[in-house]
Symmetry: C2
Subunit: 295 residues, 2 copies
């Protein structure tokens, strides 16, 4: 059973009539790929109802970013989820799924809407937040808004947007939202490129160039795994400055995975995070790795 | 029955154990006066449980404001409410009341707390927001935080802070919080001065000086009531510029009461709002009045 709800009004009536049950939520901007589908599958397996939202949120795009060209492919998205639903036998398992895909921006932000939810600079001032001012305010504001309508028990987020995951986790904790956030592993194509709706903008040559991103992340990860953290640090510095000479990097950093600070004495796991511009397209990727202190 | 809860932990257990019932909420910074008590009384009359919070919220004070000297008088506050409760016969009516008075700031904002809720400049950039940058972000953030703990059906706010009332109403609406906000009329002393915890800072002479605030508001109100709005405007302009020559005004304005814009063609009611500095003390007050278009 798949329901498609195109207005907030429709959605609210639908939500009000749901009996008390486990609700999993997968917020997306549509143009689904296997990464999104892995979130949907996880939610279907662990909840009675899964609600998937498709909303290209203008508030999280900067004035010169790709809001307009962001691909909108609702028909295809619905049919991909329908296939997953059928092939996974979820109908037989009594699972249910609804799409919430507001047709207009005003469905999510009514005309007088004037509230912003922000997580502070410690988490949002770095990495993507540095080059995309206001981006995370747009993310937390829309995610709160969707949470307040969907009222999920669990919400599924891909770890490709690792900083986003941390920021939303912070918001959930600070605002006492009773929602469990589930981070899901990055899906990659056969060459190792992290799946993204933006990959389709790449030409063949650009695709080859883009592969430098997962490759260097893997190289740094290997270095950290194979060395004591004290030994690893200067090697990594060199690798990074080497790679930064070529290619157009927005950032390439190794940071503590819990607070996004420079790795410190209490750091246990780091995130190796990169953002690379390939032509007009900005790609992000990351890997998590535990530090060795006694190797 | 009066409960006093001094930690968020205690409060959460208390709240969890409340049966399904009507909960009214009166958020305060303590140092209660008859204005606060009129809110408590209204809540007691209209709800099964009333929760009164006392928390001097550092986030809504600017760096040079009076956070430190803001009066903390918990014992007296509790006994005032106890008297009201007894004298109003609320025990017999089966009413119940709890104080939530977190002892430490970290009870409301845990150490890693890093989220801000802001209402946009259209409402918060004027009047008090103009001279107290960040003030309303502090207000919306703490009120959301308290709402998320208290989970009230109704929340009572005094209209002395009229802009605050509008800002919180906006937040409640935008964030789909299922809370009814009840604005309550300003309480005044026998001379007409609006009750405020800050009045006690005034010397006798300052008290006399402070009375200019309610007096001019009343004068403008009378002018608006007795004239067609077109006729009234130039008279009011003159009154305001007269009064502004003496006294230390932070602002003295007549604005549309719904959006705080300059009165416009669709304006039905205006708020006459003033903020006056008397010595070190900043006092605010306002009056609402309907416009006459056909007199």
């Amino acid at each position: 059973m798949i329901e498609i709800l195109r207005s907030t009004h429709q959605f609210l009536i639908f939500r009000q009539n749901l009996p008390e049950c486990a609700v999993g939520f997968v917020p997306t901007m549509g143009n689904l790929h296997s990464g999104h589908l892995s979130l949907v599958k996880e939610s279907l397996e662990n909840n009675d109802w899964t609600i998937l939202s498709i909303f290209v949120n203008p508030k999280q795009f900067g004035p010169n970013e790709d809001f307009e060209r962001y691909p909108r492919t609702l028909g295809r998205d619905v049919s991909l989820v329908r296939d997953l639903f059928r092939e996974g036998g979820f109908e037989e398992k009594g699972k249910k799924i609804a799409f919430f895909c507001p047709e207009k921006v005003s469905e999510v932000y009514p005309p007088d809407y004037n509230t912003t939810i922000s997580v502070g600079n410690e988490l949002t001032g770095r990495l993507c937040g540095k080059s995309r001012p206001g981006h995370f305010d747009g993310v937390t504001t829309v995610v709160f808004q969707l949470f307040s309508l969907v009222k999920p028990n669990k919400a599924y987020f891909g770890q490709k947007d690792y900083q986003q995951y941390l920021v939303i986790k912070r918001m959930i904790s600070d605002l006492n939202l009773n929602i469990q956030i589930i981070p899901m592993p990055i899906k990659r194509d056969k060459d190792g490129l992290a799946l993204s709706s933006r990959n389709q903008f790449l030409t063949g040559d650009q695709k080859t160039e883009a592969l430098v991103l997962p490759k260097i992340l893997e190289k740094i990860k290997k270095t950290i795994k194979e060395n004591n953290w004290l030994t690893a640090q200067p090697i990594i510095k060199e690798i990074i400055s080497d790679y930064k000479r070529s290619h157009s990097w927005d950032y390439l950093e190794v940071l503590d995975s819990t607070d996004l600070k420079e790795p410190h004495e209490e750091s246990h796991t780091v995130v190796i995070a990169g953002a690379l511009k390939v032509g007009e397209t900005r790609l992000i990727d990351n890997k998590l790795v535990e530090l060795n202190y006694v190797r």
